[in-house]
């Protein structure tokens, strides 16, 4: 199943996404954690360490893919259960490369994500809901918000299930029956 998850920060998206990816694992096939973050400071390092610790014992194989998400298809031969965390980092890495802003690159990322979703049978994609705020930002921040929303809408359209995580609770926006079926799996 193809699942898209978004929601507010520290609401439990990553943890829940991990559980879903584990549930989608098929016997004999790998379980991939697709790491997208390029650490820029100690805060990022700490977040990476925390996520790593959470994944310990869950038999995830980590694939580093901070850019060019489609390369994942070649690396994995499209077999297994995948967790891509997150589109937020993917977009930032590609859009703000080398100190310049590449606004147009979002269309390339959108096409790649569409392809990834279509090629993988079991994938969970995590994003961040950063849109319910007063619009009092710089031009670059607005571009980034608009672009992330563009990617979110592509993911939501192409995934079977769309979930919003709200302080540890799940709001099902799409694919209720598919989601229930997955939950009934042991």
């Amino acid at each position: 199943m193809k699942i898209f998850i978004s929601g507010g920060c520290k609401n439990g998206k990553s943890t829940y996404a991990q559980e879903l990816a584990v549930k989608q694992k098929t016997e004999g096939l790998p379980l991939y954690y697709v790491a997208t973050m390029e650490p820029v400071d100690g805060e990022d390092e700490a977040r990476i360490q925390r996520h790593r610790k959470e994944r310990e014992g869950l038999s995830f194989e980590t694939v580093e893919q901070p850019k060019n998400i489609m390369d994942l298809l070649i690396k994995s031969n499209c077999k297994g259960s995948f967790l891509i965390d997150s589109t937020t980092a993917l977009l930032a890495n590609e859009m703000f490369q080398g100190g310049i802003i590449n606004d147009g690159i979002v269309e390339k990322i959108g096409k790649e994500l569409e392809e990834v979703i279509s090629q993988l049978d079991h994938v969970v994609i995590v994003s961040d809901y950063i849109f319910s705020n007063i619009e009092d930002f710089s031009k670059e921040t607005k571009q980034y918000q608009r672009n992330l929303a563009y990617l979110d809408k592509i993911c939501a359209k192409n995934c079977d299930v769309v979930l919003e995580i709200c302080f540890g609770n799940q709001i099902i926006h799409k694919g209720g029956n598919e989601y229930e079926a997955l939950m009934e799996r042991i």
Binding site: S6, S132, N133, I134, R146, E164
Partner: protein
């Protein structure tokens, strides 16, 4: 009256056009700095601009909407939900944030239907 809310860039307008089979000519787009509503179109998009400019002029947007509620009965109102973010430093924006919360709560109470858009998907919350 139908109220459609959601965060920025969530696809509110596309949703309304598709769901209610409407064209651009059915949609009234509020402009930045505009503080009065005058329209005979089915959809009023960008209500946040009205609220913000009224706040900047020291007007009470909730009162204004209450006074004009009769003319909104057959409308589809589309507005950004800006109520969940951080409290802004700017005094006007702070007042706008609160005015928008109050005005949308009033409209949601009066509306026959309230729809929230999340990543392009609409959920009926009333």
């Amino acid at each position: 009256m139908i109220l459609v809310i959601g965060g920025a860039y969530q696809g509110k307008l596309s949703y309304v056009k598709e769901k209610y089979r409407l064209e651009d000519q059915d949609i009234y787009i509020c402009k930045e700095g505009q503080s009065e509503l005058t329209t005979d179109k089915r959809v009023i998009y960008g209500l946040e601009h009205i609220i913000l400019s009224q706040v900047k002029k020291g007007m009470d947007s909730t009162c204004y909407i209450k006074e004009n509620i009769a003319s909104l009965q057959d409308k589809i109102l589309v507005c950004v939900d800006a109520s969940c973010g951080i409290v802004p430093m700017d005094k006007d924006l702070r007042a706008y944030r609160e005015a928008s919360g109050r005005t949308l709560s009033y409209l949601a109470n009066k509306a026959d239907e309230v729809i929230r858009i999340f990543c392009g998907i609409g959920s009926k919350i009333k």
